[in-house]
């Protein structure tokens, strides 16, 4: 068993999330991100797994034969089973097509956290007056990181009508940190030569703009799976998650290739990811034991209309006790219904008290047992 990790240390994003709340569902503890990461890596190594850091899979020589580069050398490594757990990243300014100058001081939360928590001493890179773009969970983490670095967050903006985090975080940001939240607002331009000097904010409904002084812009959230290896490997990509299409057991369209974590559902808290991934681990073990069994024919599960994505997005019809499906709504809704349809027939409805964008809702998957293998893809939509 080999874990290939291209960063300096294993553990992923929690390594630089210097706040608590990690480990509740999987380790039954409450830990800071860095401690949680170390604990997970510790448990892995103690289980006899080789963890190779500073080492990167750069491509595929053939299915399940990885091209790997590390300080120890360049080599090809073949495996009976491959698990892709390459996570997700925040979409940067350029991908969001924010126009303007290209000054220093524009970054994502990922870079910000690494500057503050991993490579200390880069405070001058972060400036003094920061605007945070986004109001998801991670955006509030960005606020904390900015404060830790001695930077004043002067505002958060979201193009949606409300924040998308838990009420407690939003309240704390507004009262204790005193950071205004400008909803229905987008970042329409960045100005500055050398360093950011101003940002232009636009009201989404009217198009009216105003300019405020700032020297740092943090783009947070708007996650996209890091799916380069999945695409390079020819795996089918789900258009909703933009990660490899996979079922509940993490099986992708490639035989013996599994995918787990935020690569397939961008993004969930670390402990949720860990619990789901444990199930994938068991499926990998099954594959190793009886690998010649073909993966059963599966149906696509497609998010349509008001839904951004659904996971899992592959399902083997007939499974009697299929677990829940994670869904993402595009908009805030109160009292919505998720409708599951196949071949023009409604297979299930599930009422949600509310739907919040950038947050996962779950719907039961008991309807999988009633699916018709011949009736085509399963379509999910949200109403009301």
């Amino acid at each position: 068993m080999l874990v290939v990790e291209r960063e300096e240390e294993a553990g992923g994003v929690p390594r630089h999330c210097a706040h608590t709340g990690f480990g509740v569902r999987d380790l039954r503890r409450v830990l800071s991100g860095p401690r949680y990461a170390r604990r997970i890596v510790d448990l892995t190594e103690r289980a006899g797994v080789e963890v190779s850091t500073r080492t990167m899979v750069t491509g595929w020589a053939s299915p399940r034969v990885a091209e790997i580069t590390g300080p120890a050398g360049v080599e090809r490594v073949g495996a009976t089973a491959v698990v892709l757990a390459t996570g997700a990243r925040e979409r940067p300014r350029a991908a969001r097509l924010v126009p303007g100058d290209r000054p220093a001081g524009v970054l994502t939360t990922g870079e910000l956290q690494q500057l503050v928590h991993v490579r200390r001493g880069a405070a001058e890179a972060i400036g003094r007056r920061a605007v945070v773009v986004g109001a998801e969970h991670v955006s509030y983490s960005a606020l904390l990181t900015l404060r830790r670095a001695g930077v004043r967050p002067i505002g958060m903006i979201t193009s949606l009508e409300r924040h998308q985090t838990v009420g407690l975080f939003a309240l704390a940001a507004a009262t204790a940190l005193r950071v205004p939240l400008w909803t229905g607002t987008s970042l329409s331009a960045i100005r500055g030569r050398g360093r950011v000097s101003q940002v232009e904010l636009a009201e989404v409904s009217s198009g009216r703009t105003r300019t405020i002084d700032a020297d740092t812009v943090v783009f947070s959230g708007d996650w996209i799976p890091d799916h380069e290896l999945a695409r390079a490997g020819g795996l089918k990509i789900d258009p909703g998650t933009r990660g490899p299409a996979a079922d509940l057991l993490g099986r992708t369209s490639g035989a013996g290739i599994f995918a787990a974590g935020n690569l397939v559902h961008p993004v969930e808290p670390a402990d949720v990811v860990a619990c789901r991934a444990a199930r994938v681990g068991l499926a990998v073990a099954d594959w190793l034991r009886a690998g010649t069994d073909p993966v059963p024919a599966r149906l696509r599960v497609v998010a349509t209309d008001g839904l951004l994505w659904v996971f899992p997005n592959l399902v083997a019809p007939g499974a009697a006790d299929h677990g829940p499906f994670a869904i993402r709504s595009r908009e805030h809704r109160h009292g919505a219904t998720v409708v599951v349809e196949q071949g023009g027939q409604v297979v299930a409805r599930h009422r949600l008290r509310r739907a919040v964008p950038n947050r996962t809702q779950e719907i039961p998957g008991t309807w999988v047992g009633a699916l018709d293998p011949q009736a085509g893809a399963v379509l999910l939509r949200i109403e009301g």
Binding site: R6, E7, E8, R54, M56, T58, E67, T69, G70, P71, A72, G73, V74, E75, R89, E90, R91, P92, R93, A94, A95, L97, P99, G100, D101, R102, A104, L107, T108, G110, E111, Q114, L115, V118, R119, G121, A122, A125, S188, A189, R191, R193, I224, D226, E228, R231
Partner: protein, 456 residues
């Protein structure tokens, strides 16, 4: 006292410095920025033009053709990434289709090899992802893509290696005649040179006025561009060109030597000579063009956006003149073909300077041609080379994941005779932080290396 001082270390100034360095001349290359090639030279379409669509008989036409030939050969010697992907100039309307024959004719008059009409069916066979509705094309097989950053750096390295004094961070604010030489005023010192060449790009007309000339005025013409994710690369084989108009070559879609797809440029005139901001309208217009030309690319992630300013003048041709009595030469109004013609401009201007009285005595030794490191996907990179990594593990420690840039390559970029001095310099020498994640993963570690924190 220098024999020649060149004002401006863009691709043209550096090419000239390199060319002059093979003679027994003491030259200065004076640049206001902290690196070479930080103006238009770094923000263009990265195409080595054949000149097929230039006006036959113009200086631009002759120099682009000759420059294409020279740089095409030199790139291999210097390790500059170059790919002869060819171009397809596509007609989308009947009036455009009617122009194709005259485009072939013009290409042939420009002695462009292999220019021919391509029918619709062949066009779609070659480019299956082309948007619907194309009515045929002209093929220009020798149109190529190249790395503009490496080109400028390669020229500068060769010049510096042959003894040219590169004066970075030095802004010339005026000139004073000194009898048999010129005095270039920089605020802190005076640089004395017998001959002066103006290669100041966007400031070319202002510098020309210092010497008493007003033959041209520069109106910066902004070109905005969008770089799509490398995962989009398989969608296209050749450069897709539109039927040009008198104002601009139009919006193209092209592969890059780094492995991306490039879309652009726009063409907007402006007064400001330093404003390279992108605009909402500009980017939107590019995406609309992409929807027509190569619809599948619009579904891919954007990796980067940028803009460059063309030094456009009221004239249609290059404004290159030598004033023998002043011992002054001006290279102005190079618009959008400077990269392609750079080596030919250097050759031409040197010849003219010689005719004007500059003594051109060959040096004895053959100048060394330093090789620049490979960038992007053009040639095998250290991360793919077992022997390199075995000899130096820093080449196996990848820091910029998206572009596979190793600690060793960044370390090399910060060292040597023309080291990177800031993040931009590192980007142009390695492409670190230029990938799809835009420093999400690597920004902090690259910044640490820049700050001199050795051994991450």
């Amino acid at each position: 006292m220098y024999d020649v001082a060149i004002i401006g270390a863009g691709v043209v100034g550096c090419a000239l410095a390199r060319h002059l360095a093979r003679f027994r001349l003491h030259c200065a290359l004076v640049e206001r920025a902290n690196d070479v090639g930080t103006g238009t030279s770094k923000a263009n379409t990265a195409i080595l033009h054949t000149g097929f669509d230039t006006e036959p008989g113009t200086l631009e036409s002759a120099l682009v053709r000759r420059g294409h030939q020279l740089l095409g050969m030199h790139a291999h010697r210097a390790g500059i990434a170059l790919e002869r992907v060819g171009a397809l100039l596509v007609a989308w309307t009947p009036p455009q289709a009617d122009e194709l024959d005259s485009i072939v004719d013009k290409a042939r008059r420009n002695r462009c090899r292999g220019a021919r009409r391509v029918a619709e069916d062949e066009l779609y066979r070659r480019e299956p992802h082309l948007g619907p509705g194309a009515l045929g094309a002209v093929e220009i097989p020798d149109e190529s893509i190249i790395c503009p950053w490496s080109t400028t750096i390669a020229f500068a390295l060769e010049a510096v290696g042959a003894g040219v004094d590169l004066r970075l961070g030095t802004t010339v604010t005026g000139v004073r005649p000194g009898g048999d030489h010129w005095e270039l005023l920089t605020g802190t010192e005076v640089i004395r040179a017998r001959w002066v060449v103006n290669a100041a790009g966007l400031a070319g007309d202002l510098v020309d006025r210092w010497f008493g000339h007003g033959d041209f005025s520069i109106t910066p013409r902004k070109g905005q561009l969008i770089v799509f994710d490398k995962l989009a690369r398989p969608l296209l084989h050749s450069i897709l060109l539109p039927v040009p108009t008198p104002r601009s070559k139009g919006v193209l879609v092209a592969p890059t030597v780094y492995g991306n797809l490039l879309l652009g440029p726009t063409a907007e005139d402006q007064d400001d000579r330093t404003d390279v901001a992108t605009t909402g309208d500009g980017l939107a217009s590019l995406l609309a063009a992409a929807q027509r030309i190569l619809p599948a690319v619009a579904a891919e992630e954007v990796t980067a956006t940028y803009a460059g300013l063309r030094a456009a003048t009221e004239h249609r041709d290059y404004q290159i003149s030598v004033h023998p009595e002043q011992r002054y030469a001006c290279i102005g109004g190079i618009r959008s073909t400077g990269l392609s013609s750079s080596m030919a401009i250097a050759e031409h201007v040197t010849e003219q300077l010689g005719a004007a009285g500059l003594s051109l005595e060959d040096r004895d030794e053959e100048p060394a041609v330093p090789r620049v490191p490979p960038l992007g996907e053009s040639r095998p990179r250290p991360y793919q080379q077992p022997e390199l990594v075995a000899a130096d593990p820093a080449y196996g420690h990848i820091l910029c994941f998206c572009e596979r840039v190793s600690e060793g390559e960044i370390r090399d970029a910060l060292a040597g005779p023309l080291p990177a001095r800031d993040l931009g310099g590192i980007r142009r020498r390695t492409r670190a932080t230029n990938g799809r994640c835009q420093a999400f993963y690597c920004g902090a570690s690259v910044a640490a290396l820049l700050r001199g924190e050795v051994g991450s």
